[in-house]
Symmetry: C2
Subunit: 335 residues, 2 copies
């Protein structure tokens, strides 16, 4: 059995910089036609100049493949209309982080007060720049996303022309929000379709499955599965693949992030096939994103076949999800 | 400022065996007069012979101190009355583990069905042997203890003469149970008085704070604090100090357990003093246990003083709680 995916897209990807960029970028560009690139470097990407330099470093790391990095700026509440109008030519979206909520988010927004954000949100609405949001409060770790629901509602109600993407949703409450506001969209990761907190901390503690937002309950995962497997038109695949060197994961303070880029399509095919929804995978990994972002990806055909794929223990010192385990599907060819 | 504790007792302690026993046992025997010793070795302690041999290994590891290991057997539902009558001379309690629920609990009880446990529970009631329970179901990791409440209620109702200790409680529901059944008691650890899941997984993931039961919410911790700081007469200190070598903690599958034995009294004094309850510490770490178990500990005076104590990074390769941090109180003398 095989399936051919046309121009798969990863709508939420961390490529980092320097040596790590060189290690991980080719693993994404091999099997994806494009990806939304997160701007949370140190320092974050907040100028067009820095963005273009970063894009060019990405392109030189992925030059062997047809791959388009869809660039984003790190949200700041003092961006002017003129700046955004200029930026619009180079970016696909702005990414908003509440301050301190995840890896390298220290320079993020410290208050979700609508009035402080109004000018930028109105400019983005006008310029049709999507807003990507890491939607967590700084409350109790299991409640952070649920507590952010009211912020999403405020955003969606007050800025009806602003396209808002709830990034890497992990709760049934976020899933339900999609139906309530026309201008709310979502990405879902691979790992949140597979795991719950039990997989992270129910037996032995598994640092390579530790991520932000943290994996939740079975009913939350099931709500995400319903959206993904049915390829709900407001939902896109975004891996949130987030590489850390092994010594930052297996340590006394383990960084958040699951590394899935090189195994994502294989694991998605396995999951969709097991649930008899293989026919919806194309929409989940590409069509929905094209529709939502209004973008036309580079052409790329990725053929997967139902042949066991033994996931490597590490890719250049970065441990992937399913390391050492076997997935049902493997990549047969890319053209 | 100083406080002198008379015969502090640790009513829930893991000493392991072999080299680890030799490393950690002296750290408990230095500052405690006695401790309830957990029987979950590999294989678990289920015979009087194995128990006496283990006790003698403990005593030779602690021979420089006045220290009494209060031995326990690993609960089995096929112990006979005659066996328990004989065992009673050597043991302080039986420890019941649901199968597979924590480190080395694989041989535990697989069903909490009262009928299957009746004979042993009746024999224990008759012989006045306390039942110590690791009270978790195999449900979702944050719900396991709460789901066990109905089991505790069944046990308490059906065996009113059986003294039941809910070990290392972590939830407000368990705290509330104490008031509802005369024959229910509890131990509380040091770490569950200090941390919530946010400390384990809210920022970086901290494997040295990963334990079973997992730390819960702030309202749960506060309910435990109320019990401990007021030295509720049905509550005893039990560290559940559980050493693992550093490579079993900082690894791709981190074992559950927080190592607190050598820093427990200092951290308890700091906590009780900060909350203006220093006068209740003696009851929490000794008197309540004597009353509940009806035991008379060896005499030992431990004087603590309010002088900073820099917690070592490691004790023989085992990382303690608060490693590298400073506690307000230190041990001044032991006599």
């Amino acid at each position: 059995m095989t399936i051919t995916l046309n121009s798969p897209l990863d709508m939420h990807l961390h490529l980092r910089d320097g040596e790590m960029l060189k290690t991980v970028a080719p693993l994404s560009s091999h099997s994806f036609a494009g990806a939304i690139i997160m701007p949370n470097l140190v320092p974050p990407i907040t100028s067009i100049e820095a963005l273009l330099e970063y894009k060019s470093r990405i392109l030189s790391s992925t030059c062997r493949d047809r791959f388009e990095p869809l660039m984003t700026l790190f949200f700041r509440d003092d961006y002017s209309y003129e700046f955004l109008k200029e930026a619009k030519k180079e970016i696909s979206a702005l990414k908003l982080y509440p301050s301190g909520i995840t890896t390298n988010s220290e320079g993020g927004v410290s208050s979700m007060d609508i009035e402080g954000l109004r000018d930028v949100f109105e400019a983005m609405s006008e310029l049709e720049i999507p807003l990507l949001v890491h939607g967590e409060t700084n409350g109790f770790v299991m409640d952070r996303e649920k507590e952010f629901v009211s912020v999403y509602e405020q955003f969606a109600k007050n800025f009806p022309r602003l396209k808002i993407v709830m990034e890497h949703i992990t709760t049934k409450e976020s899933a339900e929000l999609l139906g309530r506001y026309e201008n709310l969209y979502a990405t879902i990761t691979l790992h949140h379709l597979y795991i719950t907190l039990d997989d992270v901390a129910g037996g032995l503690l598994r640092p390579h499955l530790f991520c932000k937002p943290i994996a939740k309950r079975a009913e939350d995962r099931d709500a995400l599965l319903d959206l993904a497997l049915s390829a709900h038109p407001k939902v896109m695949f975004g891996s949130d693949s987030a590489p850390h060197p092994i010594d930052k994961k297996e340590s006394c303070g383990c960084a958040a992030g699951v590394f899935t880029a090189p195994i994502a399509l294989q694991a998605l095919a396995s999951l969709f096939e097991k649930n008899d929804n293989l026919q919806n995978l194309q929409a989940f990994v590409s069509e929905n994103a094209r529709e939502i972002y209004g973008c036309e990806p580079l052409s790329k055909e990725v053929t997967l076949e139902k042949t066991p794929f033994l996931v490597p223990d590490s890719y250049g010192g970065v441990v992937p999800m399913f390391a050492g385990e076997e997935l049902d599907w493997s990549i047969k060819s890319v053209s």
